[in-house]
């Protein structure tokens, strides 16, 4: 990558935090042991994996036995969905499962596969800002609903779902699965995009399954994790040597797991540091109170931590809407991750804007990195009720820890002329 690249695609992936790299390196060089080996070389690696598991448990407020490391968040989502349904199938129970229309492909595709296999599936629609309604969830739940999977925050438009309230709703509707001790439905959330910014206490949220990824939180690629609440039915989807309590066979990615542990540790440290700093401030000013109220879906520490990112993101949105005629913000103004902006510019195609910005040294994306090579318009934007043209003319800009004022100034300088030129080329000026 060129040194001067302005990276504004943090929802696709984040750079590795140097502190994370530092703790990973020994396990790529000297401490190469297999955690399953009983000798001291192996046990050193096993110890590191367990330490990382403790860090995740502390971050999520759960016990370490409830954490399973996987090869990616996609794999964690697959395990949550297929693993739970498979286990329940073995009990001879006919399942119904619920998700939303705007989930990441890593959730939608497993649902589609299960649907093809004869499992009853409900896809909840969303409103024009990407929010799921409580009454829709309530209406969708049936006697045989075993799983509800709702993402914490959307990867394309950043819309935050009220997971805590949905958790309560599901809890109030739980019933006993006949001839078992299981209380159905179970609640899964894909929290990949939320971990940096929102409260991840699984008990406060009331979730049974929680997916997170390493590389979206300044950790390494090739590692993810699934929180599985004790007592949740689960079958493995990968078989072999029985690692991870039999739920995920395959020799552990030790360096990756260590990196993931350090990445969440850094987020936790930052949150508690800012919590301390926040508590020394007397919240006497009415306006501060108002700001706090308007951001009540974020964790306490998270609010302060993300202030800078949010300020820059707001500057970006205001600047774009002001300087580009016909620009439209997709998603919610309020229930939104602080680092996400998503626009539609009629007459300028998304991929063309990405390529043109890349020529100027700015990295952004269309809908999502994984679907950028697909010709279909974004399923998320279509679910909001956008037209196909609006969906094809969208651009996602996502900020992160490394984003500076200059980066925003640069994209605000370059994008208007790119949109103008593309509109000239398409004849829609």
């Amino acid at each position: 990558m060129k040194k001067e690249t302005t990276y504004l695609d943090y929802a696709a992936t984040t750079p590795l935090d140097p502190r994370v790299l530092k703790v990973m390196l020994p396990f790529l060089k000297l401490d190469y042991g297999n955690p399953s080996s009983v000798h001291s070389v192996g046990q050193k690696a096993a110890e590191a994996v367990e330490k990382s598991r403790e860090r995740l448990a502390s971050f999520l407020n759960c016990s370490k036995e409830e954490i399973v490391f996987t090869g990616s968040a996609t794999e964690a989502n697959n395990l949550a969905i297929f693993g739970l349904v498979k286990k329940i199938q073995t009990l001879g129970f006919k399942s119904h499962i619920i998700t939303s229309e705007i989930e990441h492909h890593a959730v939608i595709e497993p649902f589609k596969i299960l649907e093809k296999q004869g499992i009853e599936v409900t896809y909840l629609s969303v409103d024009s800002e990407g929010r799921i309604s409580f009454s829709d969830i309530e209406k969708a739940m049936k006697e045989n609903t075993v799983l509800v999977s709702i993402m914490y925050a959307n990867n394309e438009i950043g819309t935050i779902q009220p997971i805590k309230q949905i958790g309560e709703l599901i809890k109030n509707n739980k019933k006993k699965l006949p001839s078992t001790d299981y209380q159905i439905p179970f609640f899964h959330t894909d929290a990949v995009q939320a971990v940096n910014y929102l409260d991840c206490d699984v008990n406060k949220l009331g979730v049974d399954l929680f997916t997170l990824s390493g590389h979206k939180i300044y950790g390494p690629k090739g590692v993810g994790a699934l929180y599985i609440r004790k007592g949740t039915p689960m079958s493995p989807i990968i078989y072999g040597g029985g690692q991870e309590s039999g739920l995920r066979s395959g020799t552990e990615n030790v360096a990756g797991i260590v990196g993931l542990g350090e990445a969440v540790n850094q987020i936790k440290k930052q949150k508690s540091r800012l919590r301390q700093c926040h508590s020394t401030l007397r919240v006497s000013d009415h306006s501060i109170q108002r700001i706090s109220d308007s951001m009540n879906s974020m964790s306490f520490g998270g609010r302060a931590k993300n202030k800078k990112i949010q300020r820059l993101r707001d500057k970006l949105i205001a600047g774009i809407l002001k300087t580009i005629p016909g620009a439209k913000l997709n998603g919610s103004a309020k229930d939104r991750l602080p680092n996400n902006a998503n626009f539609s510019f009629k007459g300028a195609e998304g991929e063309a804007m990405v390529i043109a910005l890349d020529q100027k040294g700015i990295a952004v994306s269309t809908g999502s990195a994984c679907s950028s090579k697909s010709l279909e318009p974004s399923h998320v934007l279509m679910a909001l009720g956008l037209s196909e043209e609006e969906a094809h003319t969208s651009l996602r800009v996502t900020l992160g820890r490394g984003t500076k004022e200059q980066d925003i100034i640069k994209i605000l300088k370059e994008l208007p002329s790119i949109v103008k030129k593309l509109r000239e080329i398409s004849g829609s000026i």
Binding site: E349, Q359, L375, E376, P377, E389
Partner: protein
Amino acid sequence: MKPYYSKKAIQRFTNPKHFGNMKKPDAIGEVGNIRCGDIMKIYLKVDDKKGKKIIKDISFQTLGCAAAVATSDVICDLAKGKAFEDALRIDYKKVTDELGYLPAIKIHCAQLAQQGLKAAIEDYESPNRSKLRGIFSEKRLSDKKNNQ
């Protein structure tokens, strides 16, 4: 590994030579659909002498990805000055070759450019040509008015 787009494709996309609306075109070809994200219009000025039809001028308007813009520009380059029968022989592979290469998923953009040119020539040959053209230009005018 080759970059996603060739240098030539990027150059064509960032500096297309033939884009723009044409005043009083002799024919218009419109192909593509918004679901796939590409809409391409090819405009022709035709020199029609003694039954020999030559593309005197050509331009395009494309709402689409970088590849769609680049292939539109290339097809205009290749067709300009050519007689209809020669222009119809321009294969999409020729368009791709001009760009060096295209990612597999973007080959359809070169095909779209070939179809766009063909559609424009067919429009010229069609008995309804003038009528169709009238609709296009009226629609554009009304679109413009609506935008103002």
